[in-house]
């Protein structure tokens, strides 16, 4: 995840070609989380983009990413059922596309 741009992107952020739910992920080091009653605000200081986490379960998933071996186990740890998983994977994919989260193996 190259997040070195110093300004708001003028073109859409690169999209991930599918989201690897079995990979290890983490919050991008330049991203701050602010809890809110609806979920949380995420702000990326590098891209200057703001994102919204619109429920508390997703917030739990995002904060669990760094402690869990994969996105799948992070979802399970946050209480996401198998049936709900696709919805959360889509949300994580969106966050990855805007560099809010990145694979842990990335430099």
């Amino acid at each position: 995840m190259a997040c070195a741009v110093s300004t708001e992107p003028s073109t859409p952020a690169p999209t991930t070609d599918g989201f690897d739910v079995d990979a290890a992920w983490r919050l991008h080091p330049q991203v701050a989380i602010r809890p809110e009653r609806f979920g949380a605000l995420l702000y990326h200081f590098g891209t200057r983009r703001l994102s919204f986490v619109k429920n508390h379960v997703l917030l739990d998933v995002v904060t669990a990413l760094g402690r869990q071996g994969s996105a799948r186990t992070a979802c399970a740890a946050a209480g996401v059922s198998e049936a709900e998983l696709p919805v959360y994977v889509t949300a994580l994919e969106t966050l990855a596309a805007s560099s809010m989260i990145c694979e842990r193996t990335a430099p």
């Binding site: 703001l50 986490v53 619109k54």
Partner: protein, 406 residues
């Protein structure tokens, strides 16, 4: 993220009720400015002797860090003329408060440009109100076009990618939209256009400068065509009444998710509402900025559900929500009625009923003494003698770059 939105309802509804801390805010560091733009929303020019000291500014930054305000939009006046400007920028970024600042470019030397290009946490907006010197300088003052273009060149040469070129849309420059875009592309910069408000000195010039109804349509069509490639500070949400919602957050965030701190520490609902009616408190009060944000009666009032008043029955109400509070206030219209630039024409009808001189006047004026206030010869290419300056970054919207995400 939208797949998860239904669980809590539209976020706009959440934001309308206010947050415990602003998402971002505008902070005008000084009323001093080398320019004297005829539409300056803060009537800047002369420094105010009561302006916050360096230590007081740092205390505000400490509060913003505790409240997790992600970034501040710094403006003025011309903020870079403060001797401690860079010290404050460094202090903010070291305390996890990002900085975007607006400038007319006067201090953006090649050295400063290199420094800016090297920082991930500082962003810059160069104000430009005409794609040609003739159009720009009529509003911002003689020489201001060259100053801005030099600053842009310095930033581009330093490798600063994606800095902002910030344009206030006027009757004189709507026809230059493509030219503005070309200037931005040429510098690897991003175009940002915002709405002219009848605030500050803009109260005196709005009649001559604000886009015509036909131009509003032209602007809307241009925005729809250029979509996400151009930033707007979400300031044109009243145009959503034409049909298609524009990208961004269609909501007046005043006192709910944004606000203004002025150079003397006064906290207003928004940068376009510098008037005692929208003054919530001062950061020097007990409890500081935090208490003002969380406890002021004015902000509590703004966070109550709004009735919509006369606009409630309009088919476009859900998208335009009655438009801009400040634009209504300073043109003498009721706050629960239509925006003066209502695309359905209700604003023009309402304006016809406002008696001359009945609109509230801005509360403060730091204009350079002797600078002309009215009438303003905006069509002239040459500034009157004695008015060597133009306005600042008076085009800063609190929602600058505020992207609601995918």
């Amino acid at each position: 993220m939208t797949v998860l939105a239904q669980r809590v309802g539209p976020l706009v509804e959440e934001f309308a009720l206010g947050l415990d801390a602003p998402i971002c805010l505008t902070w005008e560091l000084t009323y001093a400015c080398n320019l004297a733009c005829v539409h300056c929303l803060s009537s800047s020019g002369r420094r105010d002797p009561r302006e916050l000291s360096t230590e007081e500014c740092k205390a505000v930054i400490d509060e913003l860090e505790r409240m997790q305000v992600f970034y501040v939009n710094i403006g003025g006046g011309e903020p870079t003329v403060r001797a401690d400007f860079w010290e404050l920028v460094d202090y903010a970024t070291a305390h996890s408060v990002g900085v975007k600042f607006s400038t007319n470019g006067v201090k953006i030397t090649p050295e400063v440009a290199c420094r800016l290009a090297a920082s991930d946490y500082v962003d810059v907006q160069i104000s430009l109100d005409g794609a040609t010197a003739e159009v720009n300088d009529a509003v911002r003052g003689a020489g201001s076009y060259d100053t801005a273009r030099r600053a842009m060149r310095n930033l581009a040469d330093a490798g600063m990618r994606g800095f902002k070129i910030s344009v206030v849309m006027t009757r004189q420059n709507v026809g230059q939209l493509d030219a503005f875009k070309a200037i931005a592309d040429e510098h690897d910069a991003q175009l940002r256009i915002t709405r002219l408000r009848p605030s500050g000195r803009g109260a005196d010039t709005w009649d001559e400068l604000h886009p015509t109804a036909e131009q509003q349509r032209e602007l809307y069509d241009w925005l729809v065509a250029h979509g996400e490639g151009v930033l707007t500070g979400d300031s044109f949400f009243h145009l959503a009444a034409y049909g298609e919602a524009l990208p961004g957050l269609n909501l007046c965030g005043a006192g709910r998710v944004v606000c203004l701190i002025d150079p003397v520490g006064d906290v207003y609902a928004c940068p376009f509402a510098i008037h005692e009616n929208f003054l919530a408190g001062n950061v020097r009060d007990d409890g500081g900025f935090t208490a003002v944000w969380r406890e002021s009666e004015l902000f509590a009032d703004l966070r109550r559900p709004q009735t919509g008043g006369a606009c409630r029955s309009c088919s476009a109400f859900d998208s335009c929500r009655g438009g801009c509070m400040a634009a209504k206030f300073f043109t003498g219209l009721p706050l629960d009625g239509p925006d003066p630039e209502c695309v359905k024409g209700h604003g023009a009808a309402a304006l016809a009923g406002v008696e001359a001189g009945a609109a509230p006047r801005p509360s403060l004026d730091h204009s350079h003494r002797g600078a002309p206030r009215r009438p303003v010869p905006v069509r002239l290419g040459v500034r009157p003698a004695g008015a060597t300056a133009t306005a600042p970054s008076c085009d800063e919207d609190p929602l600058a770059g505020f992207r609601p995400g995918p």
